[in-house]
């Protein structure tokens, strides 16, 4: 019961702040609400017993990516943008795409619902599992190659970002 209350609290928080991210006029306010949304997501991770992901989410997203966003907002002066129109004139395209994707997801969930091993095979909540150890075992045994490829991807992204932000090539 407490589990459900915690989940709904974090889910509502995440959705409300996601709406605010999209609708705020000032980009700094959007960034702050994005931090709230990411923290609520981290709370959902904790509720789903993914402790490692909870820590990674807070350190990497809230500590890393958001600092990057805020830096760029400071570098790019946004005073002009405050007085301009927020939305482009293609709201109906957005609604159409969102409707189609939402229908798609709803159908997928509805069809796949019966095929899921619901709750019966889920790990009992009382058993405390060493989550980080399990994730590390999976990551370094069966997912070794994707892990290394991800490191190469990060290297490429780093070089790309440095080259992009350099003044003269």
């Amino acid at each position: 019961m407490l589990d459900l209350i915690v989940f709904y609290f974090f889910a509502a928080l995440a959705i409300i702040s996601a709406i605010l991210v999209v609708t705020q006029r000032n980009a700094v306010h959007s960034a702050i609400f994005l931090i709230t949304a990411l923290l609520a997501t981290a709370g959902i991770f904790l509720q789903l017993q993914a402790e490692f992901l909870f820590i990674v989410q807070i350190i990497l997203y809230v500590g890393g990516i958001m600092v990057l966003f805020v830096f760029v907002i400071m570098l790019v002066n946004l005073d002009v943008a405050l007085h301009q129109m927020r939305f482009r004139r293609q709201a109906w395209v957005a609604m159409l795409i969102a409707l189609v994707l939402g229908l798609h997801l709803a159908i997928a969930i509805y069809v796949g619902r019966t095929g899921l091993p619901l709750a019966s095979s889920a790990a009992p909540a009382s058993v405390l599992q060493p989550n980080t150890e399990l994730v590390a075992r999976a990551l370094f045994s069966s997912y070794m190659l994707p892990f290394e490829i991800a490191s190469v991807l990060l290297l490429v992204a780093m070089i790309g970002a440095v080259v992009m932000a350099k003044r003269r090539v």
Binding site: V21, L38, Q57, V72, L75, A94, A98, G102, A138, A161
Partner: protein
């Protein structure tokens, strides 16, 4: 799912590229929640492994996207998506 759709709407409708990138982060987070929920349902940690990869990709994407944005702002003095029309003829 609601978060995913809000993110999609944000990507398509906002003019400010910074907010568009934030909406992309929202979409990736929604996907992560789903992956972890299903990995909890299935009782295995593989969904969490995939979520880690998605977080890695999100970090790379944010770094490169914001780098492009800074380079673009230096050249054109704008952060609005619909004024980025260099490739239009």
């Amino acid at each position: 799912m609601a978060m995913f759709l809000i993110g999609v709407i944000g990507v398509v409708t906002r003019r400010n590229v910074i907010v568009i990138l934030m909406s992309v982060e929202l979409i990736l987070n929604a996907v992560n929640i789903n992956l972890i929920a299903f990995s909890r349902l299935a009782g295995s940690v593989e969904g969490q492994v995939f979520a880690i990869f998605i977080i890695t990709d999100a970090a790379a994407e944010a770094a490169v996207g914001l780098g492009i944005l800074i380079a673009f702002f230096r050249n054109r003095e704008t952060v609005l998506g619909d004024e980025m029309d260099l490739l239009k003829w």
